[in-house]
Amino acid sequence: MRHQNATAYRFLTPYLLIFSIFWVWPIISSFLISFQATRTVPWRFAPTFNWGRLIGDPAFYNALKNTLLILVIQVPVMISLAIVMAVLLNSPLLKVRGLYRFAFFAPVVVGEVAYSAVFRLMFNLNFGIINKLLNSVGLPSVDWFSNVTPAMALIMIAVTWRWAGYNAIILLAGLQSIPDDVYEAATLDRVSKVKQFFYITLPLLKPIIVFCAVLSIIGTMQLFTEPFLITERGGPGGGTETLGLLLYRQGFRSLNFGYASAVAYTMAGLAIAITLVQLWLTRDPK
């Protein structure tokens, strides 16, 4: 058995080597870098340099506030929307189901730059279709890119558009795993469709909903593309800057790898903490 294991590990060596160099080492290295002052060469060990700055940095708190705001509003809205979409996709009354399934999933496969460019055009103050639609129902135009609140709303709308369908497809798989006869039994128990949804579908879908929520929380904690491309690097005036963007700005524009690493670990720590809290809150009673 020991000989067999040795052979297996020999076959695994190339993968383990690459995994260690490009995955494990950067994770350890960035953790070590977060304890170094990297603004001057040579870097020097200074445990409180970056972490101390992080605690008192208004830019960090701004990015944290923006990220959490998006997390708290966008994730529940998107998951709720995804559940509704999944239920509609699962309806026996729906025709051309495959087409809808593809349409809902399509945003994920659209290039990020392309979709961001289209969103910028759609939400343009002067000729964007969204403002035209608002005007057509008597509402004034909104300057989506110059004011913080509309800009945040725009980020949330874009992220929701991009990922709701993806989550809906995962939830649809969960819905389809609930046996029909459970609903038939409920129908014979004189339970209305609405009550069936709240008392049967949602509880049975809970593990999938939690899974989608965890994925979304991790994704939102790392949110970068939309504030970078749609609201032009977290604009206006840092109003949509997220932790991901702050990390990028510090690491790749200011080349301050130490501080960027500290931000990265904070993001990862927060994502894990929020996920654990959520898993604890939604655990099954024994």
Partner: protein, 361 residues
């Protein structure tokens, strides 16, 4: 408690007919079993009574009221599903009370009904467990309990025992029978197992390919089947069918010769006009209706292939292919494969069928 009447009930899926005009009258408090092979339409028929399937034509009445356009929930029926269909995230108690709670039934009444169902089915100890913590038999009890708390006019059972092992199936069969006596409610039960049908039913409805072949009391179907299908389906082991030819006819009788047993002739009294001489027929004899040589109206010699000794009974399998016979005899306990034996057939215990399967009486 309510009577159930099916009048010319038809079910088509697209252009494909599944049930072709079923006419069945089920009296109040009666235990009726729909039995037939897979795909015969028995479950579809049950689901149409439940209101889970629309009917393509015909009429279904429960308690004298036509329910074609009445929602499943309003038909006053309860159903026990093959897969139990318990709510997996609820405890046994919640499973039992769910329907009543959702409909705003007063709490004391809900508790009373749940307690009563739990007592009847002896599941009091399991009330706080979830379905995944229960055995198959316990789940089945909970599923039945959920039906009981509804206090329905009609109970429907869709192959409720097919997921249980043989021993548990026998035990649950007795329990369902006891339950019927205790509640006195109309029960309609679907199974493909003729033993279940024979042991449980007041009356059996035999179905084949969407047609009702025969309706009757278990022993009536056993003793007096309407056709070869019913004769073969009811009874275990199944009836033996031997090809034969009419060699002589007289007033009220026909003499047939067994094709695979040259010289074996049997004169069978008939109430109808006998078939013409030379006509091909089939002689049906149940395994338990073979007698010792010389003690019947016609002897046949066979060679035993396999002998099965089940303890209380023994079966000898003789011949092969079309000519395979299953013989139950006291003496067969001593038989072994390769033995030659001669058995007798009595005319009054043999049934005659034409080549299309219709009974010649």
């Amino acid at each position: 408690m309510a009577a159930v009447t099916l009048t010319n009930v038809v079910k088509r899926f697209g252009g494909f007919g599944v049930v072709h005009g079923a006419n069945i009258d089920i009296a109040e408090g009666e235990f009726v079993v729909f039995v037939g092979p897979s795909g015969c339409g028995k479950s579809t028929l049950l689901r149409m009574i439940a209101g889970l399937e629309d009917i393509s034509a015909g009429e279904i009445a429960i308690g004298g009221k036509v329910v074609n356009d009445v929602e499943a929930a309003e038909r006053g029926i309860a159903m026990v599903f093959q897969s139990y269909a318990l709510y997996p995230h609820m405890t046994v108690e919640q499973n039992l009370s769910f329907g009543l709670r959702m409909n705003g039934n007063p709490k004391p009444d809900t508790e009373r009904r749940v307690r009563r169902a739990a007592e009847i089915l002896r599941i009091d100890e399991l009330m706080h467990r979830r379905p995944k913590q229960l055995s198959g038999g316990q789940r089945q009890r909970v599923a039945i309990g959920r039906a009981i708390v509804r206090e329905p006019q009609v109970f429907l059972f869709d192959e409720p025992l097919s997921n249980l092992d043989a021993e548990l199936r026998v035990q649950m069969r007795v329990e369902i029978s006891r339950l019927h006596k205790e509640l006195g409610v109309t029960m309609i039960y679907v199974t493909h197992d003729q033993t279940e049908a024979m042991t449980l039913a007041d009356r059996i409805v035999v179905l084949k390919a969407g047609n009702v072949e025969q309706i009757g009391a278990p022993l009536d179907l056993y003793d007096d089947p309407a056709n070869r299908f019913v004769a073969g389906f009811i009874g275990s082991p199944k009836m033996n069918f031997m090809p034969a030819r009419v060699v002589e006819t007289g007033p009220g009788a026909a003499t047939v010769e067994l094709v695979n047993h040259a010289g074996a002739r049997l004169s069978k009294p008939l109430q109808s006009t006998p078939p013409a001489v030379g006509a091909e027929v089939v002689l049906g004899v149940r395994p338990e209706h073979f007698f010792d040589a010389g003690k019947g109206d016609c002897d046949i010699a066979v060679k035993a292939d396999v002998a099965e000794h089940l303890g209380s009974v023994s079966y000898v399998y003789a011949g092969a292919g079309d000519d395979e016979l299953i013989i139950e005899r006291e003496a067969s306990r001593q038989r072994a494969s390769g033995d030659h034996l001669t058995v007798a057939i009595k005319a009054d215990k043999a049934l005659l069928f034409d080549t299309k399967g219709a009974r010649i009486r």
